[in-house]
Symmetry: C2
DNA sequence: AAATATATTTTTGTATACATTTTTAACTGA
DNA sequence: TCAGTTAAAAATGTATACAAAAATATATTT
């Protein structure tokens, strides 16, 4: 596992301190490498919003907040239905099959947060990739990456998983039946609802 | 000037080869530093889409293409009017003043491409910042960053500058008169038109 | 005691060195 | 001639070392 992944995993699972600036030596000790690969990982994580620079020395894990969640889901609700719409005609029976399999994996298992996040995103990717719009796709990926820090709430205290899974299944049915516009609006609603739920949960717990 | 900026500037002005993978030593020689700062810069530039990894060694400057331009302007046209709408009520007379000054600077001068891009973006930032929506703002910044590689066409062969400047001025008037919805639709149209023009220009020149 | 200045420690940025990986070139046999 | 193989070259990843910069602690003054 890459150092970058390890740190991300540790951020996701709250194994690294949130309020305090992380130092390069601290991390190089923790992961048993020199500061060079740590610097590399920090640069990437900073670029993706997993860390923010703390003045001129050190990086801080930014606190989760409802404002960020709101914006992320706002953008997702704008861009993902668009991308999905471009993909719609290009989604093959084979893709549906893989999507179903992915949902199945999400259902049964004793998965880590990172794995759940990966599977959930894998599902959506299957529906988006046939759009063949690399740039739009990349931005959507990035937004989901950022949003993944909030998965801990959705799969944990919010218990949103079951509802989400049902909607995913319905979405697949609509695709199979070729109902473009219904599928589109369900996806938009799916994202908007998830966002609203997350935001109000975040507001209530602070 | 930071190495990161220098390289970006050189990419923007086609002072670096496009088809061929850039090597770390090549860049460290060119800029007179060791490979470590080069690695740092490459990581950032890669994260922002200025470079793409070439297999397992080297980075390539991606070719400009109308598909990317189309997606970038699509997303901008979706997200920027939204951000602007949130900002609208919060834009102060002072902001308008600074926006006008920025347009003035764009008008007269013997500016480099990088400077023109910076000023153009500075103008839009003034209109977006009062929204106080950091996450949405950051994504919009990033999209404009990526789009800035295409400025060479807009300020060069397309000769789009004058038209753009006029619309910017009208936009400021609409803000001053408090006409929220007209300002909003002008901005959206402004972005969409610029996108369409750019895309058809790119299609025609290939 | 609070604010300012100074000294100490910590932290970062970058150069250099070297082992590993990857690419490129040369070679071999069909 | 060309695919596959091996050998040489190049490029990368990472450790270590050290100077510059920043943060922290200590001292000094009012």
């Amino acid at each position: 596992m890459l150092l970058y992944q390890k740190i991300k995993d540790d951020i996701l699972n709250n194994r690294l301190p949130v309020g305090r600036p992380l130092r390069q030596v601290e991390l190089s000790d923790r992961y048993g490498v020199s500061r060079i690969p740590v610097r590399d990982a920090l640069l990437q994580l900073k670029a993706e919003g997993w860390l923010v620079p703390h003045g001129k020395a050190g990086h801080i894990i930014p606190d989760l907040n409802w404002q960020e969640a709101e914006d992320l889901y706002l953008m997702r609700a704008d861009l993902e239905p668009r991308l999905f719409s471009y993909a719609f005609e290009g989604i093959q029976a084979d893709d549906i099959g893989r999507a179903k399999a992915t949902l199945g994996l999400l259902d049964n298992a004793r998965l880590t947060l990172l794995e759940k996040g990966e599977l959930n995103w894998a599902f959506h990717k299957i529906l988006y990739f046939p759009a063949n719009r690399p740039t739009l796709y990349k931005t959507v990926c990035s937004l989901n990456q950022q949003a993944s820090r909030y998965l801990g709430f959705q799969y944990g205290p919010m218990n949103y998983k079951d509802h989400s899974q049902k909607e995913h299944a319905v979405l697949l049915e609509l695709i199979e039946s070729g109902d473009h516009s219904s599928a589109l609006s369900l996806l938009k609603k799916h994202i908007q609802d998830a966002g609203q739920l997350l935001v109000s949960h975040l507001k209530s717990t602070n």
